[in-house]
């Protein structure tokens, strides 16, 4: 049971490159579980990623065709591959900085065109690989290496952004919600059209230590407390919702 996903890993890959406490390893696991539960053939899948920590989830780890591209451009590369060969089940896995800041234009246009891409955005709210700089997803007031007095700007609500651009299936889950996340990935893989799943994934190394989280476990615990379902959110007051992150489906295909 412990090694039942090994067949999905590329021979020669020995360990993940992620820091202790990073959520990306969980996301990697859950993505493969969704693929396993659907009995998908990895020979018919293409995984496209950009630049950054999350881009290393599929490349080189997944034992399928993988395309590790330029910073921000994963969706543009994926669009060309998918449009030329529609038989390729094409999944894009990359980070928040990659997909929504430098690559934001490609994200909204692929959603608008309803290209059949399965996009998973691992959102750690910071630029992890480059040393913890402020991102378009960093919460207002959060400390980063380029906002030492706190981020003065509002972050994107990524799901609203993609909804506004016309995404067929839009959902948000945290790596602390493994069953919901597996189900969301499975659902996205069975829908034809542009799907977008924002996955909240903690970055203790860059975000946690600058924002006074005592340990990676604390970050996970706080994420669990902050994430509530859309249904739960209905019973919360505006004040109570301030620190909460609403998870679930925002458009269900």
């Amino acid at each position: 049971m412990a090694r039942d996903l090994e067949k999905y890993l590329r021979p020669g890959v020995q360990s993940t490159p992620f820091c202790p406490g990073c959520g990306h390893g969980i996301l990697m696991n859950l993505t493969l579980r969704a693929i396993d539960e659907l009995h998908l053939n990895m020979d018919e899948m293409l995984f496209v990623s950009g630049i950054g920590c999350a881009a290393w989830i599929p490349s080189p780890n997944f034992n399928a065709d993988t395309l590790h591209t330029l910073h921000g451009r994963a969706i543009a590369f994926a669009t060309g591959a998918k449009m030329f060969n529609p038989k390729l089940k094409t999944m894009v896995i990359s980070g928040d900085g990659d997909l929504t800041s430098i690559g934001g234009n490609h994200l909204i246009h692929a959603a608008r065109r309803d290209i059949d891409l399965k996009v998973i955005c691992a959102n750690n709210m910071i630029y992890g690989m480059t040393g913890g700089q402020m991102a378009s997803t960093t919460p207002e007031g959060a400390y980063t290496s380029t906002s030492v007095d706190g981020n003065p700007y509002r972050p994107f609500d990524l799901c609203k952004l993609v909804l506004g651009a016309g995404g067929s299936y839009v959902a948000r889950h945290s790596v602390t919600q493994p069953l919901s996340l597996i189900n969301a990935i499975k659902k996205s893989l069975t829908i034809t059209g542009f799907t977008f799943i924002e996955v909240l994934s903690p970055c203790p190394t860059q975000f946690g230590r600058r924002n006074r989280y005592d340990s990676p476990a604390d970050m996970m615990k706080i994420l669990m407390e902050r994430c509530i379902s859309r249904e739960e959110a209905d019973s919360f007051s505006e004040d109570e919702l301030k620190d909460k992150i609403i998870t679930g489906e925002f458009s269900n295909g």
Partner: protein, 380 residues
């Protein structure tokens, strides 16, 4: 490597095309089945014709959100098995540079058409120049080699587009067709043959796609969906595609090979044409649209008995350094007229044994035959 004879989709015969229309037809004749592009003057009519003609042949046309997306989508399509192209001009060419470097490092065969306009900046969008030649060679960061062709007629806009696809497939490299506004919008006669010679990338299932011990330095290239579990990355990689970003020997080997596979084959890649060179005392070295004016001027002066000749560069990169180096000592001067500030003249100076005289015109106009004639008279 042997070509395949492929029937053209146009009926054989004589056509009256603009240069840009001829590029679209050349691409289709060469087997191009994916085009990603973004509108920009003066290249947009290539995309317009492709968007219509692809309906006949089942090609995939994508008008992307910008030139960055255009070139990236082309690379994605090529790895999915397509022969693919994009076309652009000045500012769009600048935006594509990062993708061009990615294509060079991942050895992605593709064709990029640059219908050059007067720059820098937005410059003069509807005016002609040859100012992007150095950018074609060195536009992206790092050391790499590409192939760049320079057509002088609408016929060559057709035939060199086919050549560009063939060279891309043979060497697994991005190939540039360096047209310009004048040749892109010129209309003239084009002869279309019934068949064209087409080369296709080599496939060898199971073999390493990013390394070879073969002398030509070009590895085989599989596509996504063929069960090869391809590992493609724009980071430094070993011959199976695994990222090796801190191994000096892997980086050195990869960078050397992607440069050498072009430079070591340059004598078969680089094409020139000679006119009246045998007894010439002054040789004009020219390329692209300007070479038309140069040939007119040389022919006129020859009819007056003047010993002038023309060496036309059909290929700009890799540079015809041997041809320049071999120019006989009896030649007194080389004259280089260009619609830029001397981008090719500088290369010629590296290899020439005589004086190199430049004439540079950057006013958005073509160089008139009489201008070249007058300049040559001053040198005679």
């Amino acid at each position: 490597m042997k070509p395949k004879k492929i029937k053209t989709t146009l009926s054989p015969g004589t056509y009256y095309f603009s240069g840009n229309e001829a590029v679209a037809e050349g691409a289709i004749a060469a087997g191009c089945l994916y085009y990603g592009g973004y509108p920009i003057t003066p290249s947009s009519d290539i995309m317009e014709r492709i968007s219509v003609r692809f309906k006949d042949i089942g090609g995939t046309f994508m008008q992307m959100e910008d030139e960055i997306a255009s070139i990236c989508s082309v690379i994605g399509a090529v790895w999915a098995g397509a022969k693919a192209m994009t076309a652009t001009s000045g500012p769009g060419f600048s935006l594509m540079q990062e993708g061009i470097g990615y294509a060079a490092l991942t050895e992605t065969p593709m064709v990029i058409v640059d219908i050059q306009r007067a720059g820098p900046g937005t410059g003069q969008a509807t005016r002609v120049a040859s100012g992007d030649l150095m950018q074609a060679e060195w536009g992206s960061h790092g050391d790499y080699q590409i192939i760049a062709l320079s057509p002088w007629s609408v016929q060559e806009m057709y035939s060199q587009t086919i050549d560009a696809f063939n060279l891309a497939e043979i060497y697994r490299v991005p190939v540039f067709l360096m047209g310009d506004e004048a040749i892109g919008h010129l209309r003239e006669r084009v002869d279309i043959d019934e068949e064209v010679d087409v080369f296709n990338r080599v496939k060898k299932p199971g073999e390493a796609p990013f390394g070879t011990e073969k002398k030509d330095g070009v590895p085989p290239m599989p596509a996504f969906g063929e069960g090869e579990k391809l590992l493609v990355t724009g980071s430094t990689h070993d011959d199976r595609g695994f990222r090796k970003t801190d191994d000096p020997s892997v980086h050195s080997k990869l960078v050397s090979r992607i440069n050498d596979k072009i430079l070591n084959n340059r004598d078969s890649i680089t094409q020139t044409e000679s006119y009246h060179l045998d007894d010439a005392e002054i040789i004009v070295v020219s390329y692209g649209f300007t070479a038309r004016s140069a040939l007119f001027a040389v022919d006129e002066l020859r009819s007056e008995g003047k010993r002038v000749g023309l060496l036309r560069l059909k290929t700009i990169w890799p540079f015809a350094d041997n041809k320049i180096h071999k120019i006989d000592k009896s030649v007194k001067k080389i004259f280089v007229p260009e619609m830029n500030r001397g981008q090719v003249a500088g290369e010629i100076m590296k290899y020439a044994k005589c004086d190199v005289i430049t004439y540079n015109q950057t006013d958005g106009e073509i160089i008139h035959p009489h201008t070249i004639m007058n300049e040559l008279r001053k040198l005679l």
